[in-house]
């Protein structure tokens, strides 16, 4: 039975599904490649040298979910960021949101070897009556000397954070 389960799991992986079993699509943002849920649609933006894309469910989105991926230039040397103030900057930036309640910053590393930090924040966006929750992961892309931000934002978050993990587990640098 275990072998059968492993075979089925392997087949599912080959069929464009991630380890959580959901259908995914391959996407790119500059030299960064990753997967997002298959049914989600993309919107691109660019501001201040940062390129970003936001994915949201194409159909019903009762949870008001989104995953934003932002690739921004390093404003400090990689050594400075790695040595500790990435966490401080992350907490400072998210703590500035209206009514922000932020968690401790925790170090994170992806399966493909990217390292960075994660913070969870609850806040009330301007002009919206309800509170939203956000998980913000920032990773240092050593190959391109850039930061990669992955933000999962939702009014009613998915407890498993499936969309966020789909992105994080597949995120890789594919410099041409």
């Amino acid at each position: 039975v275990k072998r059968l389960a492993l075979v089925l799991l392997g087949l599912a992986s080959c069929d464009g599904a991630d380890s959580s079993g959901i259908e995914t699509q391959d996407v790119r943002l500059g030299p960064i490649a990753f997967e997002v849920p298959a049914e989600w649609q993309r919107t691109n933006t660019e501001a201040g040298g940062a390129v970003s894309a936001v994915w949201t469910p194409a159909t019903a989105n009762e949870r008001k979910e989104s995953v934003s991926v932002i690739r921004s230039p390093l404003r400090r040397t990689r050594e400075q960021l790695v040595q500790g103030d990435l966490a401080t900057l992350l907490a400072g930036a998210q703590g500035s949101l209206d009514g922000a309640r932020v968690s401790q910053v925790t170090p994170i590393s992806t399966r493909r070897g990217l390292t960075g930090a994660r913070i969870d924040v609850s806040f009330q966006p301007e002009g919206i009556a309800r509170r939203y929750r956000r998980v913000h992961v920032v990773l240092v892309d050593a190959e391109t000397s850039r930061l990669v931000h992955v933000l999962y934002t939702a009014a009613t978050p998915d407890e498993d954070l499936t969309a966020l993990h789909t992105v994080l587990e597949s995120l890789r640098s594919e410099e041409d």
Binding site: A47, A50, V54, R76, L90, A155
Partner: protein, 102 residues
């Protein structure tokens, strides 16, 4: 003796009248100036402990409350600046609105 007494009285009277008329010529007077009554609001009208702070019914000038409020606002501005700086160093813009689905 009685004549001498009355003579002294008359001489002194003449001297006194002469002295008064001389003072008047110089514009001086020995009369007291008219008294001016200065009036101040009675403390009782303000109450024993006039209210202070933002709810005071009159301007009491700079108070500790105003100072604290100003200090708090300055601190808040410093925090915002620090947060903006952090977001900028991370290359983030409009962080509050990013990915928010209304």
């Amino acid at each position: 003796m009685g004549k001498v007494f009355w003579l002294v009285v008359v001489v002194l009277s003449v001297l006194l009248v002469a002295s008064r008329s001389r003072s008047d010529d110089l514009g001086t007077t020995t009369e007291a100036p008219p008294s001016v009554e200065l009036s101040f609001p009675a403390k009782a009208a303000l109450g024993p402990n006039p209210p202070r702070g933002p709810n005071a019914p009159y301007d009491v000038g700079p108070t500790e409350a105003v100072h604290d409020e100003y200090a708090a606002a300055s601190e808040e501005r410093a925090e915002v600046t620090k947060a903006e700086m952090a977001a900028m160093l991370l290359g983030l813009h409009a962080l509050g609105a990013t990915g928010v689905v209304p």
